[in-house]
C-alpha cells in the first residue's frame, strides 16, 4: 500500500506541475472532456449492442396493438368514442363477498363494515329488528303485513323493486323524523343521520319494507344459536326497556348472577317459550362490542335466511325500529297491549 501511495503522490505531483502551466490547462480540459464523451458514447453503443444481441430489445419491442386508442373529441361521445350511458354494473363487496349494484355500493359498504359513525346504531337496529319487537308501530308507521319479506327481496342482488312507501321513505326526509331518529340513536351527529337518510333515498329509489316474519329473530333461533349468541353478549334483559343487553359478557351493568339466570332459563325452557320479552337494549349498546356481535349477526343472517343482506336490512328497518324504540321509551310497558291489539304474528305476551 505504501508503494501505491507513493505512486499516487507522484501522480498528483505530476498533475499539479502540469496544470501549473496555464497553456496546459486548456489542453487538459479538452482531453478530459473528450475522454468522458467517448466513454459515454461507448456506453450507449454497448447498451444497444447488448440488448440486440441478447434479444431483449426485440422482446421489449413486441407487436404494436391493432386496436385504435385515438382520442375522440365530438359532442355526445366520451374520449373513447362511447356513448356515455350509465350501465348498471355490479361489484363484489370485499367485506361480505356479495354482489352489490355499483351505484349503491358505498351505502352498502358503510353498513357492511359497520364501522362508521353510524355503525353502532346500525348494528343495534339490526338486532332490534331481529329480536322482533313489534309492539310499537303506532303513529308513524303502520303494519306491513302485506309487504314482501325483506329477507326474500334481496335475492342475490336482483332486488324486486317495491314502490316507495311514504311512511318509510319520504317521511325520513322530514326534520322531525330525523330528530326522532337522533334521539333514539343516542345522540350521534346530525350530519350522519342525513347521510343515512340520503343513502336510503338515493340507493335504488326503493325502500324495502321491514317484515315481522323475518326468520332470523331471536325467538325463532334454535337453541344452539341462542346459546352461541349468549357466549358473545351479556344477554340480560333490561328491566326498563325489556331488551336484551348486547354488551360483552363481562358488562358492568349486569351481574354474573343475572347472566347465569338468563342462561339457566334458556336451558330449562328448551328455548321455545321463555324469550317473550327479549329486546335489544340500544341505550347500553357499545361500539366496542360491535365486532363479535356483528359476526354473530352476519352468521345468523346467512344461516337463518341466506338471501338477506345485513346492510340492506339495516337501512330498510331503521325508521321502524327507531320509532319502536322511541315509543318504548316514552310510554314504557303500556305499549304491550297495543302490540297485542295489532295482532302481531309473533306472540310477545307477558
Amino acid at each position: 500500500m505504501s508503494v501505491t501511495e507513493e505512486r499516487i503522490q507522484e501522480l498528483n505531483r505530476r498533475f499539479l506541475e502540469y496544470m501549473s502551466k496555464p497553456e496546459n490547462v486548456e489542453t487538459a480540459t479538452k482531453e478530459i472532456y473528450e475522454d468522458l464523451l467517448d466513454e459515454v458514447l461507448m456506453g450507449f453503443v454497448f447498451d444497444v449492442h447488448r440488448t440486440t444481441k441478447t434479444g431483449s430489445s426485440d422482446v421489449e419491442e413486441g407487436i404494436p396493438d391493432d386496436e385504435s386508442y385515438a382520442i375522440v373529441d365530438s359532442p355526445g361521445l366520451d374520449v373513447f368514442g362511447q356513448h356515455p350511458v350509465k350501465k348498471s354494473q355490479e361489484c363484489n363487496c370485499p367485506n361480505c363477498e356479495r354482489s352489490v349494484a355499483a351505484c349503491i355500493f358505498a351505502n352498502h359498504l358503510a353498513k357492511c363494515i359497520g364501522m362508521g359513525r353510524n355503525s353502532s346504531r346500525i348494528a343495534s337496529l339490526r338486532i332490534a329488528n331481529n329480536s322482533k319487537d313489534l309492539n310499537n308501530y303506532g303513529g308513524v308507521l303502520s303494519d306491513n303485513d302485506d309487504d314482501v319479506d325483506w329477507s326474500l327481496t334481496n335475492d342475490s342482488g336482483s332486488k324486486r323493486k317495491r314502490p316507495r312507501k311514504d311512511r318509510n321513505g319520504v317521511s325520513k326526509r322530514s326534520g322531525k323524523q330525523q330528530k326522532q331518529q337522533g334521539n333514539a340513536a343516542g345522540g350521534s351527529g346530525s350530519s350522519q343521520r342525513n347521510g343515512e337518510t340520503n343513502a336510503i333515498v338515493s340507493g335504488s329509489g326503493t325502500v324495502h319494507s321491514s317484515n315481522e316474519n323475518s326468520p332470523s329473530n331471536y325467538e325463532n333461533m334454535s337453541l344452539v344459536d341462542k346459546r352461541a349468541l349468549l357466549t358473545q353478549i351479556c344477554g340480560v334483559v333490561s328491566e326498563h326497556t325489556k331488551k336484551l343487553c348486547t354488551r360483552s359478557i363481562r358488562c358492568p351493568q349486569h351481574t354474573d348472577d343475572q347472566r347465569k339466570e338468563v342462561r339457566a332459563n334458556l336451558d330449562s325452557s328448551g328455548g321455545s317459550n321463555s324469550q317473550d320479552n327479549l329486546h335489544v337494549d340500544v341505550d347500553t349498546y357499545e361500539e366496542s362490542d360491535g365486532q363479535n356481535l356483528r359476526d354473530t349477526l352476519t352468521r345468523w343472517d346467512r344461516e337463518g335466511s341466506s338471501h338477506s343482506s345485513p346492510a340492506d336490512s339495516a337501512s330498510t328497518t331503521s325508521t321502524s325500529s327507531i320509532s319502536r324504540k322511541r315509543e318504548t321509551k316514552s310510554k314504557g310497558k303500556g305499549k304491550a297491549s297495543s302490540k297485542r291489539d295489532r295482532g302481531s304474528p309473533i306472540s310477545q305476551g307477558d
Binding site: I63, Y69, A102, I113
Partner: protein, 507 residues
C-alpha cells in the same frame, strides 16, 4: 436470445470459473473499494503505450492491459493466444475468436452486483441503469407480445370511474393521483414491493395504474379502494363523508403508512421518511414568531402535504382595511405568507427576552414539495363548542395560473425584509438559492358544483404535457385549457417543472 456467451467463453469458464472476471471487474472496472480505486488509478495504463484511455482492455487470461484503438490488446491476443479480454470501462467481454463482444448471463449478474457494490462504497444510492427485463419478465413479454404505447393522442391512461353512490369525491382524487406524473412513473416502474398486498392501499393504487393503462375503455369501479380506505381510516368510514380535500389528505396518510410497511432503505436518517408519498407531496412550512419588543424570532418548521388558503375577508385584527378579498391564487398565497399580528390579547412568551409580548407570526415555504396542492377554503366552517356552524359556500372566482412560480413565497424571500436573523441564513444558503428553480405547472384541478349540502365533484386532469380532460365519474371528455383556468377551482395541483438531483440527501 443469446446471453450464454460463446463457446470460447464457456470453455474458459469451465476451466477457470468466474473468479478471474470477478477480480478484474471489482478492481479495474467498478472499483468496489478505496483500495481498488487507488489501484485502478495507478495501474490502468496500456502496458505497451502507457495510455489511460483509448478503450483499455484487460486480458482475461493473464495480467495485461492494452488499448484497443492502437491495437495493443489485439496484438497481445494474437501473440499469446489469449482470446478473451475485458473492456475496462463497462466490463464487457470481447472474444477475439468470435470477433465480437459476448454476453453471458452469469457474468452479467456478477457485473450487476459489483456495480451496486461500487455505488455503495461511494455512498451513492445506485447507478442508473436502463430497465432490462429479467428472465421471468422476458418470458412474460414473449408470451404477450402486444404492446400498447402511450403515444400522442391516445386514450391509454384515461379511464372513467363509476360512482358508487356519492363517491365522486373519491373518483376525483383518484384521477388526480393517477395523473400525478412522478407517482405514475413510480408505479409504472413497478417500484412498490409489499409484504402484505391484500391489505395494502399502495398495492391497490398500483393495481389501479395497471387498469388505467390496460387499454380497457369501460369505466372502473373503485369498490376495493373505498373498502381499504374506510378500513384504514375509521373516521372516514360512512356514507356521509363527502369532502374531497379530507379524503385526499386521508388517502395520502394511508399510502404513507403503507409505504412505511415496505421501507426503502434510508441509511443517513432513520427518522426521515423517504417513501414515495413523502418524496412527492411533503414540503416544509416555516413559521416565524417575532417578538415585537426585542425582535427575537422563534422559528419552527413543519411538514405539510397541502396548503389551505382562506378566501374570506382577512382576519380583522391587523387593522388594514384595504386587504379586501383575494381574487387570485397569488393573492391567496401572498396573504398566506404575510406577517400577521397576533393581536394585543394574545401574548406569547418570547424565548429571547423571556417575557410575554405581542408578536407577529409569518408562514413561509422552507422546502417546496414536488407536487404543490392548494386547497381553496370554499367551505368555511367554524367550530364553536363542538357545534359545527357551517357558513355559506364561497363561490367567488379565484384565478389561478397555468405556470406558477413559488419563489416569492419562499422563506428566504419573504423573511429577508423584516428580520435580520434570516439574512445570515440567506448568505449561508446563497449557493443553493442561485440555482433553485421554483416553477410549477398545473396538472389537475378539482371543482365542486352545488351547495354545502349537496353537490358534485369533477376533475380536470392533464395528460401528456398539454392535453386536458374532464373527469366526471364515468364520463371522460376532452377539455380546453381555457375551461380549466376559468373553472371554480376547489383543489389545485401543481407539479414542479424541474426536478433537482439529490433532493433527499439534503435532509
Amino acid at each position: 436470445m443469446s446471453d450464454h456467451g460463446c463457446i470460447h467463453l464457456n470453455n474458459f469458464k469451465a476451466a477457470k470459473g468466474i473468479q478471474p472476471y470477478k477480480v478484474i471487474h471489482s478492481y479495474f472496472v467498478t472499483s468496489t473499494s478505496t483500495e481498488a480505486r487507488v489501484r485502478k488509478a495507478v495501474s490502468c495504463l496500456c502496458h505497451i503505450c502507457k495510455t489511460h484511455k483509448d478503450r483499455l482492455h484487460s486480458c482475461l487470461h493473464c495480467i495485461f492491459f492494452g488499448c484497443y484503438i492502437k491495437g495493443h490488446i489485439q496484438e497481445h491476443a494474437k501473440t499469446k493466444k489469449h482470446f478473451l479480454a475485458v473492456d475496462l470501462c463497462y466490463g464487457n467481454i470481447l472474444c477475439f475468436q468470435c470477433g465480437d463482444y459476448v454476453y453471458d448471463r452469469e457474468l452479467l449478474a456478477v457485473a450487476k452486483a459489483q456495480w451496486s457494490e461500487s455505488a455503495k462504497s461511494l455512498s451513492f444510492g445506485e447507478f442508473y441503469r436502463a430497465w432490462e427485463p429479467t428472465q421471468i419478465e422476458a418470458e412474460l413479454l414473449r408470451k404477450h407480445p402486444r404492446r400498447r404505447r402511450v403515444v400522442e393522442n391516445t386514450t391509454i391512461g384515461l379511464r372513467g370511474l363509476i360512482n358508487l353512490g356519492q363517491t365522486c369525491f373519491m373518483n376525483c382524487i383518484v384521477q388526480v393521483l393517477i395523473h400525478t406524473p412522478l407517482l405514475r412513473d413510480y408505479f409504472l416502474a413497478d417500484r412498490h414491493h409489499c409484504p402484505q398486498p391484500s391489505r395494502c392501499l399502495v398495492c391497490e393504487v398500483s393495481h389501479l395504474f395497471q387498469e388505467f393503462y390496460s387499454g380497457n375503455k369501460a369505466p372502473l369501479t373503485l369498490h376495493k379502494l373505498l373498502h381499504l380506505i374506510w378500513t384504514h381510516v375509521k373516521h372516514l368510514a360512512g356514507y356521509e363523508q363527502q369532502d374531497a380535500h379530507e379524503f385526499f389528505i386521508a388517502t395520502l396518510d394511508v399510502l404513507h403508512r403503507h409505504c412505511e410497511a415496505a421501507p426503502i432503505l434510508v441509511k443517513d436518517n432513520p427518522h426521515h421518511c423517504n417513501c414515495i408519498i413523502d418524496q412527492i407531496f411533503t414540503g416544509g412550512l416555516q413559521s416565524d414568531v417575532v417578538c415585537q419588543v426585542c425582535n427575537g424570532v422563534s422559528t419552527t418548521i413543519d411538514p405539510f402535504w397541502d396548503i389551505s388558503l382562506d378566501l374570506g375577508p382577512a382576519a380583522d385584527s391587523s387593522g388594514s382595511d384595504k386587504s379586501g378579498l383575494p381574487t387570485s391564487l397569488l393573492d391567496c398565497l401572498e396573504r398566506f405568507t404575510r406577517a400577521e399580528h397576533l393581536g394585543s390579547t394574545v401574548k406569547i412568551k418570547c424565548s429571547n427576552c423571556e417575557t410575554y409580548q405581542e408578536s407577529t407570526k409569518q408562514l413561509t415555504m422552507k422546502q417546496l414539495p414536488i407536487v404543490a396542492s392548494f386547497h381553496l377554503k370554499r367551505f368555511e366552517h367554524s367550530s364553536i363548542q363542538d357545534k359545527i356552524c357551517k357558513k355559506e359556500k364561497i363561490s367567488t372566482f379565484i384565478s389561478f395560473p397555468e405556470q406558477l412560480d413559488m419563489t416569492p413565497f419562499m422563506s428566504h424571500k419573504r423573511n429577508g425584509n423584516n428580520n435580520s436573523a434570516m439574512i445570515d441564513g440567506l448568505f449561508k444558503n446563497g449557493e443553493n438559492l442561485t440555482f433553485s428553480d421554483n416553477r410549477y405547472s398545473l396538472f389537475a384541478v378539482i371543482n365542486h358544483k352545488g351547495s354545502l349540502e349537496t353537490g358534485h365533484y369533477t376533475a380536470f386532469i392533464r395528460q401528456q404535457r398539454d392535453q386536458w380532460f374532464k373527469c366526471d365519474d364515468h364520463l371522460i371528455t376532452k377539455a380546453r385549457l381555457k375551461d380549466v383556468l376559468t373553472s371554480e377551482g376547489y383543489l389545485l395541483f401543481y407539479h414542479k417543472q424541474i426536478l433537482e438531483y439529490g433532493r433527499n440527501n439534503k435532509v
